[in-house]
């Protein structure tokens, strides 16, 4: 709240800066005899940017770092016997200090030392808040006065403003790269910590997955098993089932809508498929758990088959339905990109529509269709909510779709929902799984983009 208020004050100051800059530029014309280099408003923007931007950056940096600085100051002020505690105990004490300071319930009654630390904490936090105001306002005022002193009729205000805006544009487009860097770094760092405890080969090729690590060292079964193969096979199984549903249905719908359907049918069916694409995955998960999974189980029972209540088949079916519009809209684009002249040539030779599609259109569109199938597969691998709700947690190593299987994403979610400790292999294994998932989907996406790029020019 405090920060938001400060940001509003900075905004107001910038607006004042704009007026001042504009007015002083016009004022220095000395009654219209000197020509300004730029439009008056650019002098205003110049002052406003100088007033607002540096102050904004300072405030953001301060907000990001002040908590950390206050924490280390509080810790260094703690008595030696508390500071000598192991890292996890110490962080518990720090959490307590914060909770007491915020007026919440702490895990232990406050000892005098902790009470003193709470006072220091409150003191420092208050100082940090005032310092933020001081620094922010000082920077804004300084920038405002400095920029205003620059204002002169001959100053190239427009060029300077455009330079600053150009830099902001570049920074914004670099954020996309930073996101990727952030993803890779966070996955790699945490996964590396996991691989210190569990060898990578055990993780990638082990056949049992039971990520239970004991809290005390003397507990039974404290080691846990982190062989991720059952998760990989489960993921592949469910994704494959979903592709078996989605590819034929999606592709045939796209073909039908492109070449057969009367305009009326198309105008109704297309929005319906778009609705199917817009339904959140959590809704599909609910549908799967409530309707499809019991249906599959009962159908199996009628056929005399034993079907698990959270079978891979049910999850795969629902996921397939989710991916149908994805496949159909991608293949629709590709099919429409095949030039009409090729179809006409085929019709001219006397081919029927289906022959034209099977022998001319689909082969011509094949690279694009392959790319869209790969993208759909990558999406099926990364889908989370459907499998969390419809597939369950049992890590069975099986190729039978009627058994309960689980996926990589289910376990990432299961391991990280709720409170975690960041030093147990159990939590860290989620990041190793995430790294595998990210690497595989990235490879598939790049492959799909390569295929599209390579064959795109053919008919243009």
């Amino acid at each position: 709240m405090n920060t938001i208020f400060l940001l509003c004050v900075l905004l107001v100051l910038s607006a004042v800066g704009y007026r001042m800059g504009k007015a002083s530029a016009v004022g220095r014309q000395n009654g219209g005899t000197v020509r300004l280099h730029s439009l008056p408003s650019y002098y205003g923007y110049y002052v406003a940017l100088w007033c607002g931007l540096p102050a904004l950056l300072l405030v953001v940096l301060w907000t990001a770092s002040s908590d950390w600085i206050v924490k280390s100051l509080v810790v260094s002020a703690l008595p030696d016997e508390i500071r000598a505690l192991p890292a996890d105990k110490l962080s518990l004490v720090v959490t307590d200090i914060r909770n007491i300071a915020a007026g919440n319930i702490a895990s232990a009654a406050a000892t005098p030392a902790v009470q003193a630390a709470v006072d220091t904490y409150l003191n420092l936090a208050g100082m940090a808040r005032s310092a933020m105001w001081l620094v922010g306002l000082a920077a804004a005022m300084f920038g405002l006065l400095l920029a205003r002193s620059h204002v002169a009729p001959s100053m190239r205000a427009r060029n300077r403003v455009e330079g600053i805006i150009g830099a902001v544009l570049i920074v914004c487009s670099v954020i996309a790269v930073l996101t990727t860097v952030g993803i890779v770094l966070s996955l790699v760092f945490e996964a590396a910590r996991f691989f210190v405890a569990i060898p990578a080969a055990d993780f990638l090729f082990g056949l049992t997955w039971s990520p239970q690590t004991a809290i005390r060292a003397d507990q039974v079964g404290s080691s846990g098993a982190f062989g991720a193969v059952p998760l990989f096979t489960g993921t592949l199984l469910i994704a494959t089932i979903s592709m078996l549903v989605a590819v034929p249905v999606g592709l045939m719908s796209a073909v039908y809508m492109a070449d057969y359907a009367p305009a009326r049918v198309r105008s109704i069916a297309k929005p319906l498929l778009e609705i199917l694409a817009g339904i959140p995955t959590v809704v599909y998960g609910f549908f799967g758990a409530l309707t499809v999974a019991p249906f599959v189980r009962e159908a199996g029972a009628l056929a005399g088959l034993e079907v698990a209540s959270q079978s891979g088949l049910a999850a795969g079916l629902v996921m397939g339905i989710m991916i149908i519009p994805f496949v159909s809209s991608l293949s629709d684009d590709v099919i429409n990109a095949v030039p009409q002249s090729m179809r006409d040539a085929s019709y001219g030779l006397g081919a029927t529509r289906s022959e034209t599609i099977k022998k001319v259109v689909l082969p011509a569109a094949l690279p694009g269709i392959a790319a869209s199938v790969i993208l759909a597969f990558s999406r099926a691998l990364g889908e989370t909510m459907i499998v969390v709700m419809a597939a369950g947690l049992a890590a069975n190593l099986t190729a039978n779709p009627l058994n309960a299987v689980t996926t990589v994403t289910v376990h990432i979610a299961a391991l990280l929902v709720g409170d975690q400790e960041f030093d147990s292999p159990k939590t860290l294994s989620a990041f190793a799984l995430g790294l595998v998932l990210f690497a595989v989907t990235l490879a598939l996406n790049i492959l799909a983009m390569r295929i599209v790029r390579k064959y795109r020019e053919q008919y243009e």
């Binding site: 709240m1 908590d67 455009e162 544009l169 570049i170 914004c172 487009s173 954020i175 996309a176 790269v177 996101t179 990727t180 993803i183 996955l187 249905v249 999606g250 592709l251 045939m252 719908s253 057969y260 359907a261 069916a269 319906l272 498929l273 199917l276 817009g278 339904i279 959140p280 995955t281 959590v282 809704v283 599909y284 998960g285 609910f286 549908f287 409530l290 339905i321 149908i324 159909s328 029927t352 529509r353 289906s354 022959e355 599609i357 099977k358 990558s378 999406r379 989370t384 969390v388 994403t409 990432i412 979610a413 990280l416 929902v417 709720g418 998932l437 990210f438 989907t441 996406n445 983009m449």
Partner: protein
């Protein structure tokens, strides 16, 4: 001329019975192919309708909740023994006893600990809160008798709505025979009624299905999406302008391009891992806060917004730019004064669609602790909260029968919001669509 005999046509592959048979086969295969296409499309549409029907048929009843009309005696001896009429003392009062007394008055023949407890179980805990609220609003009720509609427990509600069967053996029912007979008596006297469930639209989460509401999730979603919009829209548009208008063709901008396309296809749960490791662990931001959820969803929607904005910028014809440059505008003036306003409808359509996508997103928010059980309406971007899809996930996970209908109703709420957003996008597109 006339008597010249026509030479017999050479036997062609394209006539004769064999050819006709072949043609018949080709036409049959043509019809078959068309039918496959029709079947595929029908399957997809049937799946959509089955899904919607599941939600509707399960959730339609959630908007009405069974109530019992009872004559309640607001006994000052129980509610306000000190006689101070102090609102704080009202809170401490034994409201369960007040509700119980009203029930016992109706069924004086019920005796014994167990039957009394079963009688008690007809009413929800929410009935007590309702009574407290009535007296707090109007202390003059003390000492009076009033006919009041009181909320029933979820088990009773499920029986009344037909979601739980009455005709199964008593042991496998959550409402026993005695309770059923009491309900039948109440119904015969017209004291049992389904009344509109306002609580569902004003309350937040609860452990009891009859007391839950979606408002907490709606507010959380609103705060989160607001944060997303605030971050992703300006950054996305700025990045799109740079990449489309300024970026030189070199390896670095190529890298950015490939990057953005890849980011659009990264599984959403990976963004959750990023949020957990970077924002919660490294920067120490609060768990379960809409601000973190908003940042994560902003990073997720950024590539979608950039791609849509670039397409919109590209569709503005070069003549506009050239006209602006020709009369002396700088490049930036041409972009900000002429091209960007013309591209804005397209950019906004793309942004709304990206936000609709973010509104339905669940997985990344699970990672950053938005699965908390939050009974208060979130007050601001830093207070713990949950969002609508996560709320749906949590209710769907709950085994109690009463939550199925509430989950479906929450899904309907979510779908209505999505529909509104998509309708806005379509309206924008239709209204400002321009053919150059």
């Amino acid at each position: 001329m006339t008597d010249m005999s026509v030479p017999a046509a050479p036997a062609s592959r394209h006539t004769g019975p064999e050819a006709r048979l072949r043609l018949e086969k080709r036409y049959a295969s043509e019809r078959r192919f068309e039918r496959y296409g029709m079947a595929a499309l029908s399957f997809a549409i049937a799946a959509l309708f089955l899904l919607l029907w599941t939600i509707l048929s399960n959730g339609a009843t959630a908007f009405f909740q069974t109530h019992i009309r009872l004559e309640v005696h607001f006994d000052p001896a129980t509610i306000d023994p000190d006689g101070k009429r102090d609102p704080a003392a009202f809170r401490q009062a034994n409201w369960a006893a007040v509700a119980r007394a009203a029930l016992q008055e109706k069924f004086p023949e019920v005796r014994g600990r167990l039957p009394l407890r079963q009688l008690d179980a007809l009413l929800s805990d929410g009935a007590q809160i309702e009574l407290l609220r009535m007296v707090s609003a109007d202390p003059g009720l003390l000492g009076q008798r009033r006919e009041v509609w009181l909320l029933t427990s979820s088990d009773v509600d499920m029986i009344q709505k037909g979601h739980s069967a009455r005709d199964v053996p008593e042991a496998s029912r959550r409402v026993n025979d005695a309770q059923l007979s009491w309900l039948d008596r109440l119904a015969a006297e017209g004291r049992l009624e389904k009344r509109f469930n306002t609580r569902f639209f004003t309350a937040a989460d609860s452990r009891q299905p009859e007391l839950v509401g979606v408002w907490g999730g709606v507010v959380g979603s609103f705060l989160t999406l607001g944060m997303t919009l605030l971050l992703a829209f300006p950054m996305g548009v700025a990045a799109a302008i740079y990449l489309e208008e300024y970026a030189p063709k070199n390896r670095f901008t190529d890298l950015i391009e490939v990057n953005i396309n890849n980011l659009a296809a990264v599984p959403s749960i990976v963004y959750g891992l990023l949020g957990l490791a970077v924002f919660l662990q490294f920067f120490g931001m609060p768990r379960s806060a809409p601000i973190v959820g908003g940042v994560v969803l902003a990073l997720m929607s950024l590539p979608i917004i950039i791609i849509a904005s670039r397409a919109a910028l590209r569709s503005v014809p070069p003549s506009i730019r050239e006209a602006a440059l020709g009369i002396g505008a700088s490049k930036m003036q041409a972009i900000f004064h002429h091209i960007l306003p013309l591209a804005m409808p397209g950019i906004m359509t793309g942004t709304i669609i990206a936000l609709a996508h973010a509104l339905g997103e669940t997985a990344p928010l699970l990672m950053i602790g938005m699965v908390a059980f939050v009974v208060d309406i979130p007050a601001g971007p830093l207070s713990p909260s949950t969002v609508l899809p996560v709320q749906i996930f949590m209710w769907a996970d709950n085994p109690e029968r009463g939550f199925v209908e509430k989950t479906s109703a929450a899904i309907m709420t979510l779908l209505v919001f999505l529909l509104l957003m998509n309708a806005a996008a379509i309206w924008l597109r239709k209204k400002f669509e321009r053919r150059w």
